[in-house]
Amino acid sequence: MPENGNYMIAAYILVGVILSGYALSLYLRARRSLRP
């Protein structure tokens, strides 16, 4: 079996960062447009 666990870990971290980063950006944008 090939040894490529690092690639998997990188992909999982990246997806987590992208999704939670976008969620955070939405949260901040909503807050800013509510209290400008």
């Binding site: 490529n4 999982y12 999704l19």
Partner: protein
């Protein structure tokens, strides 16, 4: 306001369940023999791809109805769906090469499916750029709708040309007629992940919709320039 709260809750549940998908995929799903651990990227890659494409179709459908009814809610939905689609498309475009490097031995190849995803991403970026370049809301909505409809109509063409080129990409193994080739232990993880991405799409779109709504209220009140 209530809408924003609902969107935040859906997103929060989605993110919590995403952690669940990680645990299930890493600890409770068997390792594929020929590809090793890298195969597990598939549980995130394919659901993101499905929603990246579906979001474009939804943008197009909302745009068609918008041109007939001129309902601003549809325009807000189209803008939200396009933005969320861009994020999912970015996931597909980054996880794809990370899987391709150990399995194909190269980060990027001009394979038909990779090229298709890149086109989709460029379509989304163009759509968002066009929106940001027009200050007048009514004109922005009409122009974006025209581009959204053209984008939706282009998707089948890119799909067709995908089948005219040789491909390295694995053929779809989940959504094929007849019995799925995937064992249940893997399929259930994949289905869970698809459900989580669906939740995240809905949660993101609802929040983004609320943000557009607040911004429009502010623009109408003349407190800020357009954003």
């Amino acid at each position: 306001m209530r809408m924003l709260r609902v969107g935040r809750w859906i997103t929060a549940i989605g993110l919590a369940l995403l952690a669940g998908v990680y645990v299930r995929a890493l600890a409770f799903t068997p390792i594929e023999q020929s590809q090793g651990l890298a195969q597990k990227i598939f549980y995130l890659h394919v659901p993101a791809a499905i929603w990246a494409e579906t979001a474009m179709i939804l943008v197009g459908l909302a745009s068609i109805v918008y041109l007939f009814t001129k309902d601003p809610r549809l325009d807000r939905f189209a803008a939200s769906s396009a933005e969320v689609g861009t994020v999912f498309c970015a996931i597909v475009l980054t996880t794809g090469p990370i899987w391709g490097k150990p399995i194909w031995g190269t980060w990027w190849t001009w394979d038909a499916r990779l090229t298709f995803t890149l086109f989709l991403f460029l379509l989304y970026v163009g759509y968002l750029l066009l929106r940001s370049a027009i200050p007048d809301p009514a004109m922005r909505a009409r122009y974006a709708a025209v581009l959204g409809i053209c984008g939706m109509c282009e998707v089948p063409f890119i799909h067709l040309s995908v089948y005219m080129f040789p491909t390295l990409h694995p053929m779809p193994i989940v959504l094929q007629p007849g019995r799925p080739k995937l064992p249940w232990s893997m399929l259930s993880t994949w289905l869970l992940s698809l459900g989580v991405f669906t939740l995240l799409y809905v949660g993101f779109v609802v929040q983004r919709y609320a943000v557009s709504y607040f911004r429009e209220q502010l623009e109408a009140a003349g407190e800020v320039g357009h954003a």
